[in-house]
Amino acid sequence: MKKTSRKTFTLGMVFCINAILLTGCWSYISIEDVNFVAGAAIDAEKEGKIRSTLQYIIPQTGGGGQSMGSTTQQAYINVKETGEALEPIGWETTLKREGSIFGAHEKIVVIGDKLARKTNLEQLVDLYYRDIDIRGSTLVFVSKGKASSTLESKEPNVIPSFRISEIANQQLSTRMIKPTTLIQVLGYMESDSSFVVQRLSSENGDTQLDGAAVFKGKTKKLIGFFTKKEVEGLNLITGDSKSGSIRAKTKQPVYYQIEGLKSKIIPHVKSGQISFQVQVNTDGRIAEDWKTPLNLFENSDLKKVEKDIQQQIEKSISHTLDKMQNDLGVDAGGFGNQLRIQHPRLWESVKKDWDSQFRTVPITTKVEVKISDYGMIGEKKG
């Protein structure tokens, strides 16, 4: 028995190996034959078509010491094509350039504002969720004007998509929002909640992060923008920011630098009436002071500045809230989510048209500012 089984086993092995070796390597694809897509831009085109721009990375030939001479060569190429949807565009592209499209290293997706206004986002990005290569951590942006122009750069050796994603991921300033990934967008869209996406604007080949785009949860369409200033307010509400600065209301510039920011949205329900309180706690330092009469060594003056900053923050928040509730009419600050957590049963009843309810909900703010430091210089007492 044992002998025969060994024989059978060996025969089986030989058969397997033969079968595989004779046909093998189905999924093989050489790394230099694929086009790495760094980013993509989608714009509206005439007759309801869309125009897609894929940013291919061009590998610098002859790595190491030999690449010295190739500094003038551009590190990327933008391949453009129009079509009805992303899939046929992709295939069109392969008619023009050799190599398959490889999306695993795609960092950003930029959607033109025109397109975002008229097309359901869920439909637009469906391909990105189905495609197995494209990562959920790919960042989503909306452009001011043509999306394809945000993927241009004048500097050689810079891949614009990488630059944008790096800026967004570092999130240094309160004037940009926490980067929105594809997977987060999916969560928002599935739960029909409104959300914001970072907006990009491009001028003379320089792309910058400029405000935010607001999508309405129900329609999944772009309905408006926040300016950079309003984004600051939004960040103060959500607390999704690490650093940034706020100007005190003085004649000469005095700037407060945020070093710590904690925000909390507390829903209150009293006899069916929903209200919110936004609590903001921040600490930071005076970063710049243009010789004002303030003496920062004096606690009273310090308190004065704190009070001033506090008012500025409140103003900024209320400005943003005003825009949300009155202009846009959507909840883009995650108020509904907090209501869901604290009052799940109530939420079930209001979630259907939460955005319209949100318009009339009273929101109060409570801000605490603590200046802990004013840098290396200050006027000495006496």
Binding site: I31, E32, F36
Partner: protein
């Protein structure tokens, strides 16, 4: 003499006609020196290195002869301790023409100042023993011959073990002589429990083989199994312990060595103390240790000689190196031609740009480099040492550099191959190194077909094989599996010595505690 020879020739013919009966009849010594010498001559006389020296003992002129092989015996001892003392039997000893004491006692007790004297009556024994280096002494009128051990094997000095050098540790390696080796072991572990059992193996060329173990520790079942397997060996010659290894191992189809070989007495000794059995074969400096477990191949005695923290770290490093040596190129193939999405973007781009213009797919590229590295290594091994070293440098640096310059392989491939090759050098045992090097090619093929799935398939296959493998009924992967918490102290880590107070559980030793 001439007449006798004729007579012998007649006898020879008779032997041929009726071999068995004659042989058994003529195997006994007759007692007549000249007849016996004739027989011996017939047996081994055709050899030019057989020397027969006839002499007379004492004043009574008793005829005697010593027979020995040129070069195998210590001539000085023959002259001083045998010839001169036999020849100078003084008068008072043969008073009244009567030997006092009797001749046999006189020779053994008074005359032969040689340590080891045995008697035999069989011509066959006599001749075979002479052939392996004994001096035969025949005395006229006596039916017994004496075999005197004045063997002087041509051995080399004890040197450091060539195949397993250590920074710290005894600079002693086994030599080719079995008794030297057993002596080394006894020197190394001075305990009366160290038992050395001798066997003779080889059906035509007899070789001494010693099974060494420590009484009171070794599992008797294991010892019995080892002895049985050794007794079953049926081959005409065993030139090296590798023969023994291959003839007694559990699974000869496995690529993995199931018995450890070592040149180091300290290694054998520590294995014995774990309850293992050592096998020494005459004529080779490589001792065998059985049973063996996989982790032993990745351990070096130095792990224990150094303090436990560096010992542990270096051991882990070795495990990592083994992993790289086995999977390095295949992972590169998998990532660069199947799963480009898994690696960091910048790495992917730099691999892509380094592969720009390389005409071969990664598998062929890797095969070219790996095979040429193996060729270089083999060439370096066969060449005389100084040449071999420079060949390594020439091959490694210049060929690699030139291949990159010529665009045949990508620079990253060179790095991968170099790291793999260097990793495989960290394996402290040559035998497992060969296995890993061979298996590396198998994984490379699989990963070229299936990518990471192929690597996993290979890993599963490898593990399936290893868990099925046993060395003398001890699971090959002990102590990793089956889980044995106590034994894990000496697996990936090397616990402080004070914590390792027990012998490995999986060895089922008689005495569990290390006292």
């Amino acid at each position: 003499m001439k007449r006798r020879r004729k007579l012998l020739r007649n006898e020879e013919q008779q032997i041929e006609s009726n071999e068995e009966t004659i042989l058994s009849c003529s195997d006994e010594l007759s007692g007549d020196l000249s007849i016996d010498l004739g027989f011996i001559h017939q047996e081994i006389g055709q050899n030019s290195d057989v020397h027969v020296r006839e002499l007379r003992i004492g004043p009574r002129n008793i005829k005697a002869a010593i027979i020995f092989i040129d070069g195998l015996c210590d001539l000085g001892q023959i002259n001083n301790n045998i010839l001169s003392s036999l020849m100078s039997v003084e008068d008072h000893e043969c008073r009244d023409n009567e030997l006092q004491p009797p001749l046999k006692e006189l020779i053994t007790a008074h005359k032969l100042s040689v340590g080891k004297v045995t008697e035999t009556t069989s011509i066959k024994t006599l001749t075979t023993d002479i052939m392996i280096g004994y001096v035969g002494l025949l005395v006229d009128g006596m039916c017994e011959a004496f075999l005197l051990d004045v063997a002087q094997a041509k051995t080399r000095n004890i040197e450091e073990a060539q195949s397993e050098p250590l920074v710290r540790g005894p600079r002693v390696g086994f030599v080719e002589n079995l008794s030297d080796n057993t002596a080394l072991l006894r020197n190394h572990g001075k305990t009366q429990d160290l038992t050395i059992a001798r066997f003779q193996v080889g059906s035509r060329i007899k070789k001494d083989l010693a099974v060494v173990y420590i009484k009171g520790i070794v599992n008797p079942e294991l010892l019995e199994e080892v002895k049985q397997r050794i007794q079953k060996i049926n081959i005409d010659d065993l030139p090296e312990s590798g023969y023994v290894e291959q003839l007694i191992e559990d699974n000869q189809y496995s690529p993995f060595p199931q018995i450890q070989n070592t040149e180091r007495p300290d290694r054998v000794m520590s294995a014995l103390l774990e309850g293992r059995v050592g096998i020494l074969l005459d004529g080779t400096p490589f001792a065998l240790i059985a049973p063996v477990t996989f982790n032993m191949f990745l351990q070096s005695p130095e792990d224990y000689y150094e303090r436990w923290i560096p010992g542990t770290l270096i051991r882990m490093l070795r495990y990592l190196a083994t992993f790289i040596a086995l999977f390095g190129p295949s992972l590169y193939i998998a990532f660069s031609s199947f799963h480009q999405g898994l690696i960091p973007t910048k790495l992917a781009i730099s691999i892509a740009s380094s592969r720009e213009g390389v005409p071969f797919p990664p598998l062929i590229e890797a095969l070219i480099m790996e095979v040429s590295i193996e060729i270089l290594r083999e060439a370096g091994l066969r060449l005389p040492k100084p040449v071999g070293q420079s060949l390594g440098i020439v091959g490694g640096l210049i060929v690699g550099e030139a291949a990159v310059q010529a665009g045949i392989v990508s620079p990253i491939m060179v790095i991968v191959v170099a790291v793999t090759a260097i990793s495989s050098f960290t394996l402290p045992q040559y035998s497992i190194g060969i296995t890993i090097r061979f298996l590396r090619f198998v994984v490379m093929l699989l990963s070229a077909i299936y990518g990471l799935y192929g690597v996993v398939l290979f890993f599963l296959l490898l593990c399936s094989h290893l868990v099925k493998l046993k060395s003398f009924h001890v699971p090959y992967l002990s102590p990793a599996v089956p889980y044995q918490l106590n034994d894990l102290k000496d697996f990936l880590i090397r616990a402080p010595l004070s914590m390792m107070k027990r012998r490995p559980k999986f060895m089922h030793t008689q005495d569990d505690k290390r006292k």
